[in-house]
């Protein structure tokens, strides 16, 4: 490329984040765990719900903040059809479902309404959710992040003390590229990465045959290369998807399901990061 184009490119590539920020925990919570994937559609929200429930089953008080402004799925996945109350006209009270305190942009608008917003509006909404929600004495708040490496990720990394990120991916090569970008982003923003999860890892037919529809072992390999913890594999499972579609997370209705047990194992590994 010639000089002129290179200049444009350099300006674009600069780190837009200033160097230092005052980072606080979200009010009313002790630890913040973000569930992230630079790529969408890898089962991040389904993971977040079931992980939150598994975390609660270990005796912790848990909340979920659905930070996906463009594609909120918490209301549907947790069967929440009510609007949050506000006693003082300032704060929003989270809605409790399955013993989990929940908040989502989807509680404030009709579920089919698209949020046709540019970045600064998204940032404002995220600030409202981190500053104005009256979370009640939570040990953990699980944040379901949107895909990408943009406004929401920057706002969290710069303004919130995020104790750790769990990165979810499917194992195909094209998705792994996004995992690498995600790792580099969080390392750059100095947000600790708890570990990586390989989701939709394989599909098992009724005959017990395993199909590596999205490839095999990719996420674990990336974890090794980048020296991150590998938290486990979750197969493509129709029960898990059906439960989410029905608004009844699998871990809530069947904690003894083989998939629920995988969530418990992953949760145990995650808790090692919080002694």
């Amino acid at each position: 490329m010639d000089k002129k184009t290179a200049e444009l490119s350099d300006a674009f590539k600069q780190n837009t984040a200033p160097k230092r920020f005052i980072k606080n925990s979200i009010n009313g919570t002790r630890h913040t765990i973000a569930i992230s994937s630079a790529k969408g559609g890898v089962g991040k929200s389904t993971f977040a719900m079931n992980f939150a429930l598994a975390l609660k089953s270990t005796g912790s008080k848990v909340g979920i903040l659905d930070a996906d402004i463009y594609g909120p799925s918490l209301p549907k996945m947790m069967s929440i059809n009510m609007k949050p109350e506000s006693k003082d006209g300032e704060s929003l009270r989270p809605i409790e479902q399955y013993g989990i305190q929940c908040m989502s942009i989807g509680f404030l608008v009709d579920e089919e309404t698209p949020m046709i917003w540019r970045g600064p509006m998204v940032t404002s909404a995220i600030k409202t959710f981190t500053e104005k929600v009256s979370w009640n004495n939570l040990d953990f708040i699980v944040v379901d992040m949107p895909p990408g490496t943009g406004d929401t990720q920057l706002t969290f990394a710069q303004q919130i003390k995020v104790d750790g990120v769990i990165i979810i991916s499917t194992p195909q090569e094209v998705a792994l590229l996004d995992v690498k970008r995600g790792i580099k982003m969080f390392d750059k923003l100095k947000v600790p990465i708890i570990g990586l999860v390989d989701n939709m890892s394989f599909f098992e037919s009724d005959e017990g045959k395993k199909y590596n529809i999205f490839g095999e072992g990719g996420v674990e390999k990336v974890a090794k290369v980048y020296n991150k913890k590998f938290l486990g594999k979750i197969p493509l499972n129709i029960d898990l998807r059906t439960a989410a579609d029905n608004g009844k997370p699998l871990f809530a209705i069947n904690p003894d399901h083989k998939i629920s047990k995988i969530f418990s194992e992953i949760t145990k590994k995650v808790k090692e990061s919080f002694p």
Copy 2:
């Protein structure tokens, strides 16, 4: 909710888009077709590549603009490892691969570099790609949109004459919510919707048994309810995924594959919208 909260919510819900814009075609192209899905990870990029190749096989001159700034996958999926030339220091020349003119942010940076950008930076990049790329006499430019309903979607809808959008979705309930949001967004922004595609529709085991891993028939139902054309179903297929991971789109290496034939059928239906 009380008054104060309701006010905030109303302000947020307002349509941020002014009413009228001057919309032009992208220079050097006749028709713009956007491939969209409010939800990520539904196979949008894989669809865009194979659809572009199917379109080319009908005798049209075709280009692909990868508009996913946070998660570009065109370089990987089309095996492009070079940087675009700029003869005059202003414009960028697209890179031709498999007879398709291609442009992606991934050509300008290392493939593992995350674009940690807030919205306005994304908008600038999109403007560069729509105004400064010297597309050469294309009948169709296929735009691979990022997930969401934000900066990129607004910039395209307001500044480019988009002739039509193809909405891709997997059939699970939670994904369909995003389809409905996408339809409402494009209707509101007055961008015509060509039709809907049901992707990862089912999985067929070696024994020929069909598994509706993500549910069944959902996308077609939504198309009916919203009075949109249903363009077809594409099953989960390991050959299709492997080809994308290897940087050799299935339609390019095997145009007679049963999945390639589905792409040809969908393309035929799409071309009916361009008499």
